[in-house]
């Protein structure tokens, strides 16, 4: 099956000379949820803006649902919905007016029934006659999503969709994204919350300094790069690590009450059984133990560290 989005050799250098994107190639399958991760200024928003027609690329082509975004922009754009990062709304318009406007703008005939469905799905129906300026930030974010969905797009771009919204609303939006995917919509999201990508994405792309450094199935990525952490709650606290445990990469935490061991869960020998035996030999007893798989965030931070050698200040766009 051909990809619903086919990006070939896209690059962008702004007039001032800033190279926001190096050569990017990426294919996204139909019905997929693709999460694009990267630190601030990595080029995520630039890439999305190029696909949506807001920024002109310096080189390369993008095919969206079989249509070139430049030579066949009408068909390409009519299939794409965009929820931008900024809460840019027409403050003096009512909710229903702005959503109806968006539907018309994208070439769709009026359909009050569909607009009502979108507003109800986003819990906006009761607010339909309210001016946008009177809404909270979270509700404005819902309005942005409603506008993007109003023309029934096949491809939806969510640029930091849950930035600044509360936990409950974030969960609602995740649920909405899942429902959209079930209806066949392809979703590409950038997010500040790695747990969001971990929760929803099928595949993850990491973009850094304008370069797509990794594209991988989320589960495969976590399996491949994932580390596990074994934590032992000791019976009696240790003042320091005994030299006999030097061959393991151990850390003493919680004032000597916890022993932490990070290991590669995919390695042939994890070192866990031998560690436990050595502890027994040394008479170090533990009352509890647990293991934790690395999160996508841990993986992302380690990737960025590896490529920049610097600390990550943020992971938003």
């Amino acid at each position: 099956m051909p990809p619903v989005i086919d990006i070939q050799g896209i690059s962008k250098t702004y007039k001032g000379g800033l190279q926001a994107l190096k050569t990017v190639d990426l294919q996204i399958g139909k019905g997929e949820i693709f999460a694009l991760l990267g630190p601030n200024g990595a080029g995520k928003t630039t890439l999305i803006s190029i696909i949506c027609g807001i920024v002109t690329p310096s080189t390369g082509t993008v095919i969206a649902d079989g249509h070139d975004i430049q030579s066949d922009y009408r068909r390409a754009r009519s299939r794409i919905g965009l929820v931008p990062q900024e809460l840019t709304t027409d403050a003096f318009e009512t909710v229903i007016a702005t959503v109806t406007f968006s539907r018309g703008l994208f070439g769709k005939a009026p359909n009050p029934g569909f607009v009502e469905k979108v507003l109800r799905d986003l819990s906006l129906w009761e607010k339909r006659n309210d001016k946008i300026m009177t809404l909270s930030g979270g509700m404005k974010r819902r309005v942005m999503i409603a506008k993007a969905l109003s023309h029934e797009p096949d491809i939806l771009f969510l640029d930091e969709p849950t930035a600044g919204v509360d936990v409950e609303l974030r969960r609602d939006m995740w649920e909405l994204v899942r429902r959209l995917r079930e209806s066949g919509v392809t979703i590409i999201l950038t997010t500040h919350y790695i747990e969001e990508a971990e929760e929803m994405a099928d595949r993850v792309g990491v973009i850094l300094k304008g370069e797509l450094i990794l594209v991988e199935e989320k589960t495969a990525l976590m399996k491949k790069l994932g580390k596990k952490t074994l934590t032992l709650n000791l019976q009696d606290p240790l003042a320091s690590l005994p030299p006999e445990l030097g061959e393991w990469d151990l850390t003493l935490r919680a004032e000597g009450n916890e022993l932490e061991y990070v290991f590669d869960s995919n390695a042939e020998r994890t070192g866990v059984p031998s560690l436990l035996r050595r502890l027994s030999d040394l008479g170090i007893a533990f009352k509890d133990l647990n293991t934790r798989q690395s999160s996508l965030e841990d993986i992302f931070v380690s990737l960025v560290h590896r490529d920049t050698g610097a600390s990550v200040q943020g992971v938003g766009a």
Partner: protein
Amino acid sequence: MTFNGWGVWALYRFEMARFGRTIFGSLVTPVITTALYFVVFGSAIGSRMEEVGGVPYGAFIVPGLVMLSVFTQSIFNGSFGIYFPKFTGTIYEILSAPLSPLETVTAYVGAAASKSMLVGLVTLATAALFVPLQVQHPLAMLGFLLLISVTFSLFGFIIGLVSNSFEQLQFIPMLVVTPLTFLGGAFYSIDMLPAAWRTVTLFNPVVYLIDGFRWAFYGVSDVGVEISVAAMATFFLICLGVVGWMFKTGYRLKN
């Protein structure tokens, strides 16, 4: 989709809805302004003035007053319509919509021209309360009104595209268009000027617009109606060309 009619209609209606929200101010202002002009120029000064080209002075200034309203409104509406989404960031939706540059301009300029024509007609109706009006060429009058509204809305659209602040948005209307209008024969016939100043005035494009519009009312013209029409058409084509180039290159629209 070869023509996004729903898109053009949606954008046009959106712009007209903004006009609707401020309709009181939009229409009352020209009524009051026109009334004040007639109190000052029509009654206080006009009563002491002779006829101009066989037309009573009060009636003579009506086309100029209408043009003053139309220029101001067209430029304001045309520039504000495109500048405001740039300012608020909602321009992203216009740029990502399946609209051609021509469709976008049609919607914005169409709405701006509709508003300014309405204001122009309200100004005219107000003037009719103060002076007896005659329109010898009503179709030509409406044609001029339409052409000038569209042309200056296009001009305003260009100003809105290139402006980076509200100050810049007002710069050209305040410092260029208003003086040119006042010096363009809105309140006098250029034949009343000394020969040297008359020659200088002929370099003012507004002269041709007001003169052509006045001809539609009274059948009198300083420069000739054909030249007026040619000047309007030339200005219109220049504006259209500039807007087309801006959309094609993305100048001040896309990064």
